[in-house]
């Protein structure tokens, strides 16, 4: 079964203006009567949040099962539940089946009405100026990527709940078979990319450089293929340790020379593969096996190095940060990075929560990733020398950082002073990013 696009509602962003209802009524009936809208917003009963009644386009729809006249059908291509006026007998049994108020009788039209997502361009979403309604099209990306060839082994040795498999598989599908992958020591080869027992773990050539020389080796391979006249993508899948610590010299050099490389960093804030030691990307206060928590030591005492900003300072052809909680954003950046890597150095930094090393339940990975963004603990942006740095997912009204810190074990010991330090660091980070933005497009100093 394919994935489908959907209309998402964020009650905390809704101010009840009703523009969506009028837009829907206009689009569907030509009238301004909000009662005829397929989307109904009303004041809720808790916290003053607004409530939504609209068709969920259920996967196993009860309205369809309840229809005696075969007038309702789930369209497995679009995911929308289609209503056939010529078959409907107006019995309203569909309204009995729906526990969401998603199909209702229109007293003017004298028949039931329901949302059809406006053939992929919902009028309600266009009318919403507060970001409460969003048309989520991530599904079409999954379907599209799902049709591409999977270039990674079916089985792998990652920890349960790790999002790195998703990153490896989708990056490989997207970049395609004409690729050479460098996987320096870390979780990516540990999960099976470089293979076991003399067999590789991917369907493209893959090699295992040292932590120190990933970018240098890729440089040589890329130049060799170029000289041979072959258009091959040279892609690194490196951890934060390999990129920001001992691997930084070769990375910096390749970036400075503008090598045509796609360098993807999967940042799980430490050497998680070898026993969760700290790296220069480990944030302040975090527990790791080398920044333990005891009577004296209370986690890491230094702030994380902001590696992607360092890459901006290299004036790379493309630099971006991404999160698996925001896949549309990630795919946009992945596509752009692949494209840019044909002419210069493209650097994609993906924040990757680690279930084992950060100590949170395996089903919470995406939630942790989302909270990191929603608290501004990490920021999603992209940079090109011509246009400068721009936030791709600005969070103007962030959640308190404690909402992020409390969802995992590695910050459980934090004192109020340490939390204050982290808050100050986030504020400083925002200032630095804003400075970068105001200096957009300025020539390198």
């Amino acid at each position: 079964m394919p994935a489908y696009n959907t209309i998402a509602f964020k009650p905390d962003r809704c101010n009840g203006c009703g523009d969506c209802m009028i837009a829907c009524a206009r689009a569907k009936t030509g009238s301004d009567d909000p009662r005829r809208s397929r989307i109904q917003i009303a004041p809720g009963v808790i916290n003053g949040e607004f409530s939504l009644a609209m068709c969920r386009q259920c996967g196993d729809p009860k309205c369809v099962a309840n229809c005696p006249a075969a007038a309702l059908t789930k369209n497995f291509t679009t995911g929308v539940i289609d209503w056939d006026c010529s078959k409907c007998v107006n019995c309203l049994l569909c309204t009995v089946g729906c526990a969401y108020g998603g199909i209702v009788f229109d007293e003017v039209a004298r028949h039931v009405i329901k949302c059809d997502q406006c053939d992929g361009d919902p009028a309600c979403v266009r009318a919403c100026s507060d970001g409460a309604l969003k048309y989520i099209t991530t599904a079409s990306i999954y379907n599209e990527v799902g049709d591409l060839e999977d270039l990674f082994v079916p089985g792998l040795a990652g920890c349960q709940g790790c999002n790195t498999e998703l990153l490896i598989r989708h990056a490989l599908r997207r970049v395609g078979p004409d690729t050479v992958v460098a996987a320096p020591p870390g979780c990516v080869p540990g999960m099976g990319t470089v293979g076991y027992n003399g067999q590789t773990g991917s369907k493209v050539p893959v090699f295992h450089p040292l932590l120190t020389n990933t970018a240098s080796m890729l440089t040589g391979i890329k130049r060799h293929y170029k000289r041979k006249g072959r258009n091959v993508t040279a892609m690194a899948l490196a951890g934060d340790g390999g990129a920001s610590d001992v691997g930084f010299q070769s990375l910096s050099g390749a970036a400075e020379r503008g090598e045509e490389i796609l360098f993807i960093v999967i940042d799980n804030e430490g050497y998680m593969n070898t026993g969760m030691q700290r790296s220069s990307c480990t944030p302040f206060g975090a527990w790791t096996s080398t920044t333990p928590v005891g009577r004296e030591s209370r986690g890491k005492t230094q702030d994380a190095k902001n590696l992607p900003l360092l890459m901006v300072a290299h004036r790379c052809a493309y630099v971006a940060t991404a999160s698996t909680a925001f896949m549309e954003d990630l795919y946009h950046k992945l596509d752009k990075a692949i494209q840019v890597s044909k002419r210069g150095f493209a650097f994609l930094h993906v924040y990757s929560p680690c279930t084992t090393g950060w100590r949170f339940p395996s089903e919470k990975n995406i939630e942790v990733a989302r909270k990191a963004v929603e608290t501004n603990f990490v920021m999603l942006w992209e940079y090109e020398p011509e246009t400068g740095l721009r936030l791709t997912h600005p969070v103007d009204d962030p959640l308190p950082v404690t909402d992020y810190l409390k969802v995992m074990g590695k910050y459980r010991h934090l004192s109020p002073e340490q939390i204050e330090h982290i808050e100050r660091h986030i504020a400083e980070n925002i200032r630095v990013i804003k400075q970068q933005m105001s200096g957009a497009g300025a020539p390198a100093g």
């Binding site: 009860k62 309840n66 005696p68 006249a69 107006n90």
Partner: protein, 417 residues
């Protein structure tokens, strides 16, 4: 002898919901569905619209052959089950063949219960349960001038409306003092009955037919009050009775229907029942009740299918609540829940006779017991959940009574969105 892991007897809503539920959990094991009619599956509920000509009889089918092919299910049409050997796990079909099964679902539905009125057997009686019934009734319409409809339940009033729309003189006879007993109270029923009177239907409530005699091409119906009615088309819609003849000499326990537990299983292992034939726990009393309405056929069929396929996501039956929707002369009535106000219940009614509107809400301990509306629209499915979940309406009582639908949606939004 042919054998199938899953055998579903009956091809209407309960059987189809079970098939879908089984295939969600078990895509592979052999599945056979036996349909009494020699057609693709259809719903009895659509039949009045076939009679009136509103629905094209060729377009009412709920599934096509492709569906069964896609779901890898054999669809045996035009056959009924005549006997079941639950020890040997074998069902005998009306064509003389036998099918072995591992798991059996009885979704054989119900047939019209024709009352024992003297003389009824001597005239042509129309009922409305199968597509054949509907086509036969439709074919007889052009020559009909005076129709008598026995029973003012959903089938009876639908038939009366559609006959009247066809220009026929119609008399509607109901033994109870109101139309749609069981779903609506007297006041709501009076609004509905009035619509029929206004449309020129002769509505006789509290009237009992005591005899029928053939006369010319037609018949005469004698009523208990001594009056008599002449007609040339007799439609009987006096309720239905579960079809379970094939359970004679069977250990499967029955009462008015086949008794089932909260997973729709009968007292015999590997045998389930769902839909109009099943007698499952009632929501209010916990006694097993017949609740022969479409949404419950779907619900019970789904639960039975999940239980048969051992789907770990199965949640047991929450009990049957009476509910229904009724369209009449372009108007709408919806009932969700019990109309019988229990002791200590709070009953709130609101009427607007000018607009033909009626709303009644029954609360008990701040929980919704039932809500009934005539030309008062609300989300029946949302109300149904409020009842089943026993949602505490105490904190929102005033606004619920004032604006039940908006409040119910807000509760939905904060409870199960």
């Amino acid at each position: 002898m042919h054998s199938s892991h899953y055998l579903i007897v009956g091809a209407s809503h309960a059987g189809l919901a079970a098939l879908a539920a089984i295939r969600m959990a078990d895509a592979d094991r052999e599945l056979t569905m036996v349909a009494k009619d020699d057609t693709l599956p259809y719903s009895p509920t659509v039949l009045p619209y076939v009679v009136s000509g509103y629905s094209d009889p060729g377009r009412v089918f709920l599934r096509d052959d492709q569906y069964f092919k896609r779901e890898r299910a054999s669809y045996l049409r035009g056959r009924s089950v005549t006997h079941i050997d639950t020890d040997a796990h074998v069902a005998q079909l009306s064509d003389g063949t036998e099918i072995g099964y591992k798991k059996l679902l009885l979704a054989t539905g119900a047939r019209p219960a024709v009352p024992a009125i003297p003389g009824l057997g001597s005239v042509t009686v129309h009922v409305l349960r199968t597509l054949d019934d509907a086509l036969r009734l439709r074919a007889s319409l052009p020559s009909v001038q005076r129709a008598v409809v026995l029973g003012a339940g959903l089938v009876g009033i639908h038939a009366a409306e559609n006959l009247r729309k066809g220009g026929v003189n119609v008399t509607l006879i109901e033994i109870e003092p109101q139309v749609l007993p069981g779903y609506f109270d007297a006041e709501a029923a009076a609004i509905i009955a009035q619509a029929f009177v206004d449309a020129g239907v002769d509505v006789r409530l509290g009237a009992e037919a005591v005899g029928v005699t053939p006369e010319g091409g037609g018949f005469t119906v004698q009523l208990a009050d001594g009056k008599s009615l002449a007609g040339d088309l007799l439609v009987v819609g006096t309720g239905v009775t579960p079809i379970m003849d094939y359970l004679r000499d069977s250990p499967v326990a029955t009462d008015r229907g086949i008794l089932v537990d909260d997973t729709m299983r009968t007292n015999v292992s590997d045998v389930w029942a769902a839909g109009d034939v099943a007698q499952a726990r009632g929501f209010y009393s916990c006694e097993p009740i017949l609740n022969g309405i479409l949404p419950y056929a779907v619900e019970q069929g789904r639960i039975a299918g999940m239980a048969m396929a051992e789907d770990p996501a199965l949640e047991t039956y929450r009990g049957g609540v009476p509910l229904n929707t009724c369209s009449f002369w372009g108007q709408h009535a919806i009932s969700v829940g019990t109309n019988a106000a229990p002791e200590g219940a709070e009953v709130v009614t609101r009427t607007d006779p000018a607009r033909g509107q009626y709303l009644k809400i029954i609360l008990r301990d701040h929980r919704l017991q039932g809500i009934f509306g005539v030309n008062e629209l609300f989300d029946a499915g949302v109300m149904w959940e409020l009842i089943l979940r026993r949602i505490d309406l105490g904190p929102v009582r005033e606004s619920f009574l004032e604006r039940p639908n908006v409040t119910a949606r807000a509760l939905m939004s904060s409870t199960w969105r």
